[in-house]
């Protein structure tokens, strides 16, 4: 009787040991690990789309780099009130506490998106593969490289302005 119990106990223990690795592997539900994302063309598409969507952030082309700070610098607006948030832009006070963050954030966002592009390009690999067949390989890698180049250009636009050209 006693031996039977012992055997049963050992079996129970071994059952647990088998499933341990799987138990500890938890996939988050509102986020994606990179191994979960880059498994099929849909995942790659989501990643590249992420860059496009994020470019519409107000710090970049959503506002500041299009109709916001850039247009103000181009003197498209007449601003008279000295407390207006773009007043220092219009008068080219580049050291003001309101102007500096505009530049900083644009640079940061652009670099962040460049880093995202780099990851996509790295994940694409050197040739079409099982998880990223043609034509997706060409489209996605091509777009990522192009976006990366474009994002490099845009912030450098600021430096021209700052140098007074």
């Amino acid at each position: 009787m006693k031996i039977r119990y012992k055997i049963f106990f050992c079996l129970l223990l071994s059952l647990f040991t088998l499933s341990c690795n799987k138990w500890v592997d938890v996939k988050p539900t509102d986020r994606l690990g990179e191994d979960q994302l880059f498994v099929d063309p849909a995942g790659y598409t989501k990643a590249i789309n992420g860059v496009y969507v994020e470019m519409a952030n107000t710090a970049l082309y959503g506002q500041e780099m299009t109709t916001g700070a850039v247009d103000v610098l181009a003197q498209y607006y007449v601003l008279t009130s000295s407390t207006h948030r773009y007043f220092d832009h219009t008068t080219f006070v580049y050291t003001s506490g309101k102007v500096k963050p505009t530049f900083d954030n644009a640079w940061k966002k652009a670099y962040e998106l460049i880093a995202n592009c780099n990851v996509i390009i790295e994940k694409c690999g050197d040739a079409p593969s099982q998880k990223l067949p043609e034509p997706y390989y060409g489209i996605i890698k091509g777009e990522a490289i192009a976006l990366r180049a474009f994002l490099h250009h845009a912030p450098s636009f600021w430096s021209y302005l700052q140098r007074g050209e």
Partner: protein, 1110 residues
């Protein structure tokens, strides 16, 4: 028909009840026995006695075997007479007490074992003093001889004492009970009641996973009983622990003082993580692990736990003691055990604790109205001054008018003390009702707790209600245990920080002429600078409806089953569920001054946050313990554990309240523009395998080893499992032959351990690259994801190598006790969240940088000066010294150093300590010019301040700190005093830096420290401590603001009385009563004057508690 039936049932019930009551009341010896039989075995006689009298008969098997068959014929004979008849020719004797008859053997005349000298037989019964339970296995010994016996399972003993003219003393001893010595006065019966001994609780180390005798344990740990905790304080267990043990430190938070709704920062043996980065982590990486009744718990639960439920607390400090907890044990483990029900009839305990708390403002040194106005004038706030110190009239008429109006107010006697407005005297109360009982098989306990803790600030309080049911069932080799606990906590927080009040100007009146609260105190309109925002009265916002409340409901169910397979081997399975729901509501009235610049339709705010947290954990373990050949004692435990924690949180916010009569979100006009719903979900799982073995040779040489493999989902899939190990050695030198001859050495144990406990208190997934859905914007191409955490796949988890050597020494009959530990903790590598340049595209990334080494020692000693029968006087001292050092950092943390330049004095350099204070050295104020003189790196004097000249100017950790105290006990009275001392170490004087210098134009309108007015440099030749009053010059941090911080705090004074024998107890049918009065944190003496409790003041408290047991 029905009515008849009903009435019959009722009558039967009534009859049964009555019958039941009547049987209970019979207690005299008027029982009568009728028995007839020839040569019946004695056991039949006993059965007859049992059946007919209802008495319980105790006797050992040996007694039964020694009896002869009985021939008897009696009718209605009184019991006592019957007993006399029955034992006539038997080698037994009896004792009748209450409703029990105890049989004991008597030495027959003519027995070869019969002694030649005369002897007297002494018999008796030993019981537990409080529960009246019969104690088996109590050792009864005649002092000075080898004669001894022990009580049987019915608590009865019999011993033959040789007659002697000399004084004879009997010693009764039992594990967990106070030994008793009773003089033998030639009586025939001696019944003894034994009291539980709390000091013996320290003889067993309870780790929550296994138990080990302290004698065979090589780790550094200490156990405190409930009584130890209650003697020093009655507020909560964390406060009492910090007074009792030097390695358990609560880091004083100068900002949040005595706020009851803030969890304290706890450190056992210093920090293992870089402190400057705690705001990056969701949990405090320096926090120890809390275990409640064998299951993992949280700091919040332990902080709310009623002290009256606690039976003991064990602190596991070094690797050998805590490694069994693996990757969570790097910061030490606190094991809390709550009271287990003891067998016996139903007993009820009631505890009441109450305290009166009032704010401690002794370190505030603010100016009064006259002084403040003078200060403002001298700082040229109202206009330039002429040579006589008067305002040059005509320059700015608005400003001047302000000055003269205020002067009028001050002369009229306005001198508002704002600091009292948000404060109140807080009376806390805690009620605990605990009922327990049961028999040998089933024991139960039910407890109800209610604790109300208001804070010293108005609108701040915390209420905790708890119900707990515990069942223990034991039969044969199986025991099953279930605890169900239901908690409800509700908290309200103050709406304004205390600093808003302490900084308001004293020359303003609180109310205007109509009796309404004034809104604007200072509006700077005279300056004509729109960027200077007005200063509002803190009383104004307080008079609106503002809510900052949170509530949580939770339950915990812990189930445990144990099976003793064979004597030496036990198997145990445990399963626990903990569920918690929380709601937090924040409502800001639309009339608050923060909304004055906001559109009318968007004023007021309501934010609600709902969270749910479910935790499962289960473990299986096998424990083995056996002594082989009387010399080799082997203990082993092995097992596995699995856990899961699911948490989700959702939140929403609305705005646009027209009125603050209702805080109902239905009254809001809509959601805030551009704001989205908040939702967070996370799941964490862990699995671990552990094994611990201990071997002791002849109880002299000890060796312990622990191995644990921990896996957690937060590590990411590449490195899920980490291995923790520890080895400990010990030597019980006092058991060696060459030392045991020295009677004055009671205990001398040397122990050492080494291990690598891990630290798991980091955010989930920080090493993984994680994408999030960036749903703020959309495009028609579908879902989009962007990197939210770049991660670092090369990240190695922080590992700590912990080495410890310790000494436990007791001498002079345990009158002098000493425990000393020296430890070296190396953390390598450190995990740091590093800021990177923006061109990397990443703001922060977790990296392994450098290492940290902490070494220190702790000392715990006490000496009993006087020890008499009912009197005891003891002095105690504990001491702690810790020093940490950074290594191998290079200049990788320069970013942090740069960022901290004007914020604080913490820097990260090789060879530096986390508590070092870095600054430029200052020689003081030059009497000739009024400017500060600095010392640069080459020791030259200069007026120029340069960050490159920074050196270590002090250290915020003390050289030594600890507690010194004494306790005196006489009969039932117990008085104890414990003072905390701190020697060495410096502090950065924030008050001086903010409120004496560095007063900007806007800050001139806030109240300042008196020293800003008096100790100032005014003209050449002044030897002043501070610079001249100026609004424009900012003073950099220098060693001028660093001073020695030595202090003495009156941490705990208590006086108590307890008794279980007083006469009045019988009249209230109580078995024992305890009263205790306390004063905590009653005085604070320090060499520096620095404001304490900036956003929430510290509190002094006077409390009392009473406990009655029925």
């Amino acid at each position: 028909m029905n009515k008849l039936y009903l009435s019959r049932v009722m009558k039967t019930i009534m009859f049964l009840l009555l019958a039941g009551f009547t049987t209970v009341s019979a207690s005299s010896y008027s029982q009568q026995i009728t028995l007839k039989g020839k040569n019946i075995p004695f056991s039949t006689v006993i059965e007859a006695i049992r059946k007919q009298s209802g008495y319980t008969v105790f006797g050992t098997k040996k007694i039964l075997e020694s009896t002869k068959p009985v021939t008897i014929d009696v009718k209605n004979m009184p019991l006592q007479q019957f007993m006399n008849v029955v034992i006539e020719n038997q080698p037994i004797d009896y004792v009748i007490e209450d409703k029990t008859i105890s049989l004991s053997s008597v030495v027959q005349p003519g027995n070869p074992i019969a002694p030649t000298t005369q002897q007297q037989l002494l018999i008796g019964v030993v019981r537990h003093a409080e529960t009246k339970e019969l104690l088996a296995g109590v050792n009864v010994k005649l002092k000075g001889s080898t004669l001894s016996t022990s009580t049987n399972e019915k608590g009865a003993y019999s011993i033959s004492i040789p007659t002697s003219a000399a004084k004879q003393v009997l010693v009764f001893s039992y594990v967990g009970m106070k030994p008793q010595e009773i003089a033998f006065q030639k009586q025939a019966t001696l019944n003894v009641e034994m009291e539980p001994d709390d000091s013996s609780m320290n003889e067993v180390v309870i780790t929550g996973i296994y138990q080990r005798d302290r004698e065979a344990h090589t780790g550094s740990s200490i156990t405190y009983s409930a009584k130890d905790l209650q003697i020093v304080g009655n507020q909560n267990i964390l406060q009492s622990l910090k007074t009792l043990d030097p390695s358990f430190a609560i880091v004083e938070n100068n900002l949040f003082g005595s706020d009851p709704n803030r969890l304290p920062d706890i450190e056992i043996r210093g920090k293992s993580s870089v402190i400057g980065l705690t705001d990056e982590f969701s949990s405090n990486p320096n926090q120890p692990l809390f275990i409640l009744d064998g299951f993992e718990s949280t700091l919040a639960i332990i902080a709310d736990l009623s002290m009256d439920r606690v039976a003991s607390i064990t602190l596991l400090k070094d690797a050998s003691a805590s490694a069994i907890y693996g990757s969570k044990a790097a910061n030490g483990v606190v094991v809390v055990e709550t009271k287990r029900p003891t067998a016996g009839s139903l007993r009820i305990n009631y505890n009441l604790s109450s305290s009166v708390n009032f704010a401690d403002l002794s370190d505030y040194n603010l100016m009064n109205a006259e002084e403040k106005l003078q200060f403002e004038l001298l700082s040229q706030f109202y206009g330039l001054l002429n040579a006589d110190g008067d305002i040059i009239v005509g320059a700015n008429t608005n400003n001047e008018a302000n000055y003269f109006n205020r002067l009028k107010e001050v002369r009229r006697g306005v001198n508002t003390y704002w600091a009292h407005e948000p404060l109140k005297t807080a009376i806390t109360q805690r009620h605990t009702l605990f009922a327990e009982g049961g028999d040998a098989n089933l024991r139960y306990s039910v407890s109800l707790n209610y604790g109300l803790t208001p804070g010293v600030m108005v609108g701040s309080d915390r209420t905790a209600t708890n119900g707990n049911v515990r069942l223990l069932y034991r039969k044969g080799n199986i025991s099953v245990n279930n605890t169900l606990s239901i908690d409800n906590v509700s908290a309200n927080r103050e709406t304004q920080p205390f600093s808003a009040f302490s900084r308001a100007n004293p020359y303003y009146r609180k109310y205007d002429d109509q009796g309404n609260v004034r809104m604007i105190l200072e509006d700077f309109s005279a300056f004509g600078n729109p960027s200077l925002l007005p200063i509002y009265s803190p009383l104004y916002n307080q008079s609106n409806l503002n809510i900052n409340a949170s509530e949580s409901q939770g339950f915990t169910n812990n189930f445990e089953a144990e099976w003793r397979i064979i004597e030496a081997l036990r198997a145990r399975a445990r399963f626990g569920i903990r569920s918690l729901r929380e709601q937090a509501v924040l409502f800001s009235s639309p009339f608050n001054t923060e909304f004055l610049q906001t559109d009318v339709l968007e004023r007021g705010r309501y934010d609600e946050n709902n969270g749910k947290n479910v935790n499962y954990d289960g473990d299986l373990s096998l424990t083995f313990g056996k002594v082989f050949a009387a010399k080799h004692s082997v203990n082993a435990v092995a097992g596995m554990r699995m856990e899961q924690n699911v948490r989700n949180q959702s939140s929403f916010g609305v705005s646009g309240f027209i009125d603050d009569e209702f805080s109902n979100p239905n009254f809001a006009l809509g959601y805030k523009e551009g704001q989205r719903a908040g939702y967070q979900e996370s799941k964490r799982r862990g699995a671990s395998f552990f094994m611990n073995t201990g071997y002791a040779f002849d109880q002299r040489y000890l060796i312990d080893a622990t191995l644990r493999s921990d896996g957690s989902s937060i590590y990411g899939s590449s490195r899920q499992f980490s291995t923790i190990w520890s080895v400990g050695l010990g030597w019980n030198a006092h058991k060696e032959s060459f030392l045991s001859s020295y009677g004055w050495i009671n205990q001398l144990r040397l122990r050492g351990s080494i291990g690598n406990p891990g630290n798991q208190n980091f955010d989930d997934y920080i090493s993984m690259r994680i994408y999030r859905y960036n749903n703020e914007n959309r495009n028609p191409f579908g879902a989009s994801t962007i990197i939210s955490n770049m991660g670092n796949s090369n990240l190695r988890w922080q590992t700590t190598l912990d080495r410890n050597i310790g000494l436990d020494f007791m001498t002079f009959g345990n009158r002098f006790r000493l425990t000393a530990d020296y430890f070296v903790k190396s953390t390598d590598p450190l995990l740091v969240l590093l800021t990177l340049p923006s061109s990397t595209g990443v703001a922060r990334v977790a990296q392994n940088i450098g290492e940290q080494q902490a070494n220190g020692f702790t000392l715990n000693t006490d000496y009993t000066i006087l020890r008499r029968d009912e009197m005891n006087w003891r002095v105690n001292l504990n001491l702690r010294h810790i020093k940490s050092e950074y290594r191998k950092m290079g200049n990788q943390l320069d970013n942090f150093n740069l960022a901290n330049r004007n914020r604080n004095m913490v820097r990260y350099y090789d060879g530096g300590s986390p508590s070092d204070l870095w600054s430029v050295r200052s020689l003081g104020i030059d009497p000739a010019t009024g400017r500060e003189i600095f010392l640069n790196k080459n020791n030259e004097q200069t007026f120029v301040y340069n960050y490159q000249d920074e050196v270590v100017v002090g250290n915020s950790d003390p050289d030594v700190d600890g507690i010194i105290g004494t306790s005196f006990m006489y009969k039932g009275f117990l008085a104890s005093v414990n003072l905390r001392y701190r020697i060495g170490g410096q502090a950065f004087l924030k008050t001086l830096y903010d409120k004496v210098e560095n007063i900007t134009t806007q800050n001139v309108a806030l109240n300042q420290d008196k020293r800003a007015l008096y100790d100032r440099w005014q003209k050449p030749g002044d030897n002043a401590r501070f610079k001249s009053i100026s609004r424009t010059e900012s003073t950099p941090m220098s060693s001028r603001f660093v001073e020695d911080n030595n202090m003495l705090v009156g941490e705990s004074f208590s006086l108590g009385y307890e008794t279980s024998k007083a006469s009045f107890l019988k009249s209230i049918r109580a078995s024992s009563i305890t009263f205790r009065a306390y004063m905590n944190d009653i005085f604070y003496v320090s060499t520096i004057k620095n404001e304490r409790g900036l956003d929430y003041p510290f509190a002094r408290s006077v409390s009392f508690s009473a406990a009655v047991r029925f």
